[in-house]
Each structure stands twice: as structure tokens, then as C-alpha cells.
């Protein structure tokens, strides 16, 4: 591993760091909430006695959206985040890093196979609450989830926009934010990606979301887009 030259806070995104390496390259990183522990095969950097975790944009769509310059990162320290489709916890662990112990990540995942991995991530991260449930039925986990500042959704379901609306109705506070990762190929293979994005965005607009930004995630993820929106019910 190349030596760390310096680490500094990102100019646009609060609580996200940039690690500069000896060879001149830079990496996105978050401050590791659980020192010494890796979640996937990311690098750990130490600088001034603080440990940072590399945030790999090829593994995490949120990191890709940041590198592609999405307008804002509404997730900051202390945020309460409802994370739909947490998978094995790659991105969720970075979100957990960012919100810190004052914040909360409600991580909803439906597949038992990846939930096993997410569970082991959640065990050491006190702010990460794993929920094994179908995001299409928010009433089934309403007893666990409180009001949220942000919904982050990466569910790859054909009905993802309406699923997000339903969850927003239950849990998102007024003026809260949404990040929605759209995978065009999971929605309709017969349609062009741009058409799929437009349709999903239209559904969001009808459900009281103001679209603030749409970012294409290539080259990190092909045929993916990240929508950033604000809830104005």
C-alpha cells in the first residue's frame, strides 16, 4: 500500500474525507467508526492517529455519485437514515461512519443470504439497525423505524419509485431528502435507460418530491443513475 501523504475534509461533502497517497492518487474515505475493522476488502489508512476507510466507488453507488459530483450530501453526522436495500453492508457501513454514534441507520434488506453479512457488520456498529424485511411493506417494520432525515434507496425493483414513496409517507420527515439509485436494467430491459429514469422521476414528482439532481454513475456502474430529491409533502 502506498503511503498516505495527507488527509483532508472534502470541499463539498461534510464528513467525507479525501486521502492523498504517495503516488499522487486520491481516494474517497470515511472516518472508521470501528477502528481496526474492515467491512469488505477496502484499505484502512491511518493519519494523525485517526483511522479512515477507503470508499470504493466501484463497490458503492453513493461513492460513485459523490465522485461524479452530485449536488449535495444530505447525510451528515447525526443524521437518521432509512436505508432500503442495504445488501451486505458495503455502502451502509460508510453511511454508518458518516452519521456517527449520534446518528442512526435503519438498514432494511430482504435477502437472508446477504443479511448474514449485514448482521455481522451491524454487531460492531451500534448505530446500524438491521431489519430483515420486505421494503414494500413498511408497516411491518414501523415499530422499529423512527422519523428519518434521509431515505437512501438501492432496491433494484421494478416498482422502486412507488416503494420509496410508501416508505417516505411512513418515515420521512417533511423537508427530508432522498437518494435513489436507479438500475435501468432491473426495471425494464426492453426500454432505453433514459426512458426508465424519466419514468421513475415522474413517479417521484407525483409523490411530492422535488428533484434536485440526477447523476449518471458510469463508468463506475453501467446504466445506473442516482436521483437526489427533497420531500415537500
Amino acid at each position: 500500500m502506498a503511503e498516505v501523504v495527507r488527509v483532508y475534509g472534502h470541499s463539498t461533502y461534510k464528513d467525507v474525507y479525501v486521502v492523498e497517497l504517495e503516488d499522487g492518487s486520491t481516494r474517497l474515505a470515511t472516518r472508521n467508526l470501528v477502528v481496526g475493522k474492515r467491512v469488505y476488502d477496502e484499505w484502512l489508512f491511518k493519519f494523525n492517529d485517526v483511522e479512515y476507510r477507503e470508499w470504493n466507488a466501484y463497490r458503492s453507488k453513493l461513492a460513485a455519485a459523490l465522485l461524479k459530483g452530485i449536488k449535495e450530501l444530505a447525510i451528515t453526522s447525526g443524521s437518521k437514515v432509512l436505508y432500503l436495500g442495504a445488501g451486505s453492508g458495503t455502502t451502509a457501513s460508510h453511511v454508518s461512519d458518516i452519521v456517527g454514534l449520534e446518528g442512526r441507520v435503519y438498514a432494511v434488506e430482504f435477502a437472508p443470504r446477504v443479511m448474514r453479512e449485514l448482521l455481522s457488520v451491524a454487531e460492531s456498529r451500534k448505530n446500524l439497525i438491521p431489519i430483515l424485511a420486505d421494503a414494500r411493506f413498511p408497516q411491518r417494520y414501523r415499530y422499529l423505524v423512527g422519523y428519518s432525515d434521509v431515505i437512501y434507496a438501492d432496491v433494484a425493483q421494478p416498482d422502486q419509485a412507488s416503494l420509496v414513496l410508501l416508505n417516505a409517507k411512513h418515515f420521512l420527515k417533511e423537508g427530508g431528502y432522498l437518494y435513489l439509485a436507479i438500475k435501468a436494467r432491473s426495471i425494464d430491459v426492453t426500454k432505453e435507460p433514459d426512458e426508465v429514469y424519466r419514468r421513475e422521476i415522474d413517479t417521484l414528482k407525483k409523490g411530492y418530491f422535488d428533484i434536485l439532481d440526477v447523476i449518471h454513475l458510469d463508468p463506475f456502474d453501467k446504466d445506473h443513475a442516482m436521483v437526489y430529491a427533497r420531500y415537500v409533502k
Binding site: 437472508p112 448482521l119 451491524a122 446500524l128 438491521p130 430483515l132 411491518r140 415499530y143 423512527g146
Partner: protein
Amino acid sequence: MMKVFLTDVIVGAFAIDLNGNVIHKVVAPNDINKLVERVLKIEDDQPTDEFLRLLDELVSNYGKDLEVVVDNENYVKYLSDVGLKAVLEHGSEVLLRFREELPKHFVELGFIKSEGEYYEFLHTISLTITRSKLRRVAQKRDLLAVQAIRAIDDIDKVFNLFASRLREWYSIHFPELDDLVKEHIDYARIVAELGSRDYINEKGLKRLGFSEGKINKIINISGKSMGAELSGHDVEPIQTLANIMLELDRLRDELTSYLSSVMKEVAPNTTELVGPLLGARLLSLAGSLETLAKLPASTIQVLGAEKALFRALRTGGKPPKHGVIFQYPEIHKAPRWQRGKIARSLSTKLAIAIKADYFTGRFIADRLRTDLEERINEIKTLYAKPPVKVEKVKGRKPRRK
């Protein structure tokens, strides 16, 4: 008429008035296992004991002249059971506000010492719930069948890989055997049991169960083989490889019989219709019995042919006639033009069988099987001859919007 909001949360069932005050509550015992059981019930849309008790006590305290608001449609039924009028309202302000104040209530009820402990409590509960749900999934036998069939497929792959290596390797010594013995397992048996060409004799081959004619052929050719002479030292590793193949074959048999016992348990109708192997492959493609049971026949028909199906959808070409159900003997033995019809008929019967397996558990496969056989015979007589080919119009536009 008084308006009351009902909600069931981790620690108990609560009745709240319009101003957000708790007018009645039934609290669960402070025992994490009991709380987890409660939560699992809530998630399954079943009323908890506390909720039902709350309903009874509400009626006896306030009478039936209440307008009760709930946020779960499944509770409406239980309300009308006790004669209460129910209103369904998602995300009502009163309930949302109440949920925001939960930390305070938790402290008051003695579940936690301070509001700061609330999230720790939630974290512990959610970990325990998730673990217990995962265990419930692990107990599902259909997932064992899925793993077993995948293991069998892995073994087949490895076995074939080893077979081609063995043939190539042993051919240095006895190249002619490659053409004489077509079956991999027979080939491996000869190498493993007899080894060097010099030990291939009538007695040994007979013991391995070869026919008279084959034995004569092998012995005849082995006498004038063009292969190189190998010492015992050089033959030994080849034999080791052959032995591992025999071992793999035994393992495959064991897994197959294990799989068939599991499949009979989880999906008796499906197994009766298409056998344990094909049944398990369908399970494996769908992921679980539940997901498979919820698939329509048309999807079951092309399970395993996703690549061809989506290619067809994209380009507007011909969709595949069958996926993995091609392995059903009546399909792959049938002439080409009958296969699609048989596949369609089989997949409809399969869809019924799987739904019976998952939902009722009743055994209806014998009836399905006679129906299916009848239809297959019908197809065979009605479409005995290949259809006359119609000249295709050239330059047909793909079906694309």
C-alpha cells in the same frame, strides 16, 4: 363518538386519544425473548396477546361507541370481531407523534433507564429479531435442497473436467482405450482398478461388468497398443486421479438419494411430476419454494433460459420454448415441433403442483400426472407431422416500441 388510535409497538399495545395522550395500554413482560416473539407476530400481521387484551379492555371501559383508527388493514378484522368500528389510516399524525415519543414511554415503563439507552435497546432487539428470522429461514428444508442440487452440479462439472484430464493423461500409455470406452465412469474404473495396460485382462474386465465382445476388443488392442510403456511409479498418480473420480461418483449418488428424500418432504407433488433432480433445479433457479410457488406457469416454462428470453425481449426475436424443464424426458425426446406444446402443458401442471406443495401440502400429483400424460398423447397424435414451413417475409421489423 370518541376517536381512539391503536398501535402495537415492541413493548406493548397502546390506545391514544386525539391529543396524543395514552388512555389505555397493555404492557408486555420485560423479557427479550417474549418481546422478540411479539415483534415477529406484528411483522406477520397477526394481533399480539396484548393487542387483543387491549381491545377487550377498551370495550369494557369505554363501551362500543368508539371510532378506532389503526394503520394496518389486517387489524380491521379483529376490531369488528369485538364489535368495534374501525378506520384505516396510514401515517396518521397522532400515531407518528406517539412513535416519536417512544423513548420517553420506554423509560416510564421501565424497559430502559434513560432515553439515551433507547437506541441501544433497539439495536439489541433488532439484532435478536434478525437472528431469529435468519434461523427460521435456515430451518427451511427447501434451501437445503437448493444447496444439494448445486453441489451435485458442481460435482458434475469437476467430474467432467477430471474425465478429460484422465483420458488425456492415460492416453500416453494406452491411447486406443479412449475410443473403446465412451462412458467416463467405466473408463475411470478400468484405470483405477486395473492400472497399467499389462494388468488389463479378461478376469479383471469381467469383474468390472463389461460385455464379452467389449472385453475381447480391449484385450486384443491392448496387446498391440502404440502407447508408451509406463512404470508403476508413473501410473500411480493417474490411478489416484481415477480413484478420486470414483469417489466423486459415490458422493453424487449419496447426494442424489439425500436430495430425493428432502425433495419428497418439501415438494412432494413437484417431485412426483418431474423427479427430485429437475424439481430441485427449479427450486434452485427460483431461490426458494415460496418464490417458485408465486411464479406463473409461463415463467416456470422458461426458468433457466433467462439469457435467451431477455435477448428475445430486447430484439423482438423468438422467445425460448423451454428452460431447465427441457430435462424432462418427454420434452427432449419429443420431435422439435412438439416440444413447445409439451413444455407449455408441463409448466402449467408444475405451477399447480408447486402451489399445492407450498400452500396446502395436499398430494394431487397423481391426478396432475394423468392429465399431463393425456395431453402429451394428444399432442403426439395431433401434431405427429412437422408443420409445413411458411415462407418468412424478409426484412420483418423487430417488435420494438
